[in-house]
Amino acid sequence: MTAIDASYPGSRLAAVFRTCRFTGLKVDIAAQRLIKANAVAAVIFLAVGGLMGLLVALTRWPAVHLLPSEWFYLVLTGHGANVLLFWIIFFEIALLYFASAVLLGSRLAAPRIAWTAFGLMVVGAIMTNVAVFQGDSSVMFTSYPPMQAAPQFYLGLILFAVGALLGVGIFFGTLVIAHAEHTYEGSIPLVTFGALTAAIIAVFTLASGAIILVPTFLWSLGLVAEIDPLMYKVVWWGMGHSSQQINVAAHVSVWYAIGALTIGAKPLSEKVSRTAFLLYILFLQLASAHHLLADPGMSATWKIVNTSYLMYLAVLGSLIHGLTVPGALEAAQRRNGYTKGAFEWLRKAPWGNPAFAGMFLSLVMFGFIGGISGVVLGTEQLNLLMHNTIYVPGHFHGTVVAGTTLAFMAMTYYVLPLIFQRDIIWPKLARWQPYLFGLGAGGISLFMMGAGTLGIPRRHWDITLTDAMHPFDLPSGGFLMMGLNGLAAVIASAGGILYILITVGTVLWGKRLDKGDAPLAFPLHKQAATVAEYGSHATVKLPGTIILVSVFFLSFVLYYFVNWKYLSEIWLLR
């Protein structure tokens, strides 16, 4: 870290701080500017990628079938890159700076390098978008060789990854500085710990990306003769799937953060929540195998060990958070006085606060839709039923859209007042935004899963197969599901557009909070402002959480066995 200190010596160029009047947190102005820049970039790419997603869904709605085939494949490629990579990773870099510099009250390490990182990411993201729109890089997000994209497609991704890696380095540097300068006492907060998990996974992820994309870039220039398609898949998914695990660690941190900000939630026990994050670091990187269960070459042993994240120990991490997050919320609400029955704490939760509503919907849908479907899809034999059907996008829209994106949107309702220092405009509309987006996101996930179960292929322009050499009919139920998926996508887009309008409107015209003493449209819990009370929660009874988790567990077990039953009815294979 000496290099970082040398380029930005605290003594020579002192960091400037302000104190947040809502939370009492010390905010480094340099960090604040960088958080703003990364968040703005994130929202721009969400707008572009989200619009592309709507076009994709409208094309796959059989009755609408909007785009011609060339445009469909082009837009689908752009959709994947813009939302899955650019929106989410820009937002995550903002979160990392927030969880390090702001939560620890420290200066950010090497802001100038952080700006370089930001610049690289912007240039990379634009370069890849240009390559996609030039039309000869419609290779989908996965870009499996021997299909080849233009060199600038890969180069853009590489630049973006290098920038993101630098950003992750800044996060580590800031942790070191905060520790060395004693800006906090004891251990880092749970949210920072979760962000640290995300950052460690990000290093592995981005390194995998570089290992495979650099040779692929050279191959597209003609400097490398061949890229083995299986090898590519193993290493590429070290980035492709593991980067989704960054999202999991990041959005679980966001759940804890929003719980703390809105109702003063504390972890039930620091030890359990942190161990659950630790399980992510230890086992999530095995995820490549999820994408190779239906591929030749790998042994069944390799597939089973890897796809189960070594005996489901990483899934265990998520299952633990599935109890500790609602448990922390229930404990806090009971302490806030909502003690009647099993569910008064939930009924009287701040449902009118979009941050809370978005967080809770994200928690429920990530678990019930994204989580359960992920485990089922990642079961060695069950994968045969759904591999590369539209069930797969159904699953990951449950994790990345209903889970991560909704959680990040929810977090935005505090990033805007606390970092941009602008109060949310149109609070009444903002109240509805998470419900609208959540309903749509949940809908697209479930309907795509339904269609996939019926065999509808993913990334497919014409499921009527009328112009094909051997036409045949895919199940009509699948067509119905794709229509409902289109409807749900329209609802999700309405929620997405509302989010963009509120965010942009607030940044430009929101009431300024840095002067005067105006209250927030969506107030923080009083505990959020007092650092005096923190740590684990004292022992409490949590009947509501126990019921919720039991319902979840029963659904999981039931759905798991339904799929085995379905598998046992197909042709025999060995």
Binding site: P189, G259, L268, A468, S536, T539, W571, L573
Partner: protein
């Protein structure tokens, strides 16, 4: 608070809530069960994807498939695609290329066939419908699965791995007779 350092600096010495311990035990055992069940299905289940795979050049594979099709051809489908009826238990070759599955296969219900799968160009996705068996097909790798149809009728093969602009045109057919 989750956003501030734990008050108890020795937080790792704090006791764990009972409800947490209970759930961790249940979740861990469930994970262990799911792990064991994948292994168990290799012994008790009838649907396991073979991992028998050989390296092959696309040209060599094309030769094998052509020889196979000529040997057992019994008819022709629209577009001149041969319909091939191999004897039961025989090695069967199916190739994927831009944008077709070739040739059309005629199999007998209840008989087992060693089906060879490979691609001549890009990656493709073998998606048998409405049975819903989905397998990834790579160029350069010849995968062999032993398949036993349990229903008679006409079955379609779609491609569910994106393979360029004609991806949605790529289909094939397997006919299963009693």
């Amino acid at each position: 608070m989750a956003i501030s350092p734990p008050r108890n600096r020795l937080w790792w010495n704090e006791p764990i809530e009972r409800v947490e311990v209970g759930w961790i035990v249940v979740a861990f055992l469930w994970g262990l069960f799911m792990f064991v069940f994948m292994i168990a299905w290799h012994f008790i289940g009838g649907q396991n994807l073979s991992t028998e795979t050989y390296r092959v050049t696309p040209a060599a594979y094309e030769e094998k498939v052509t020889a196979f099709a000529e040997k057992y051809q019994v008819g022709e489908e629209a577009g001149g695609v041969p319909v091939v009826r191999p004897p039961a238990g025989e090695d069967v070759y199916l190739l994927a290329r831009l944008w077709e599955w070739w040739p059309v296969l005629e199999l007998k219900k209840g008989q087992s066939y060693r089906i060879h799968l490979s691609s001549l160009d890009w990656q493709h996705g073998f998606s048998l419908q409405p049975v819903n068996i989905n397998i990834s097909i790579h160029p350069g790798y010849e995968q062999i699965i032993t398949l036993t149809p349990t229903q008679a009728g006409d079955f379609g093969i779609a491609c569910n791995e994106y393979c360029g602009i004609g991806h949605h045109l790529m289909t094939g057919r397997i006919r299963v007779v009693e």
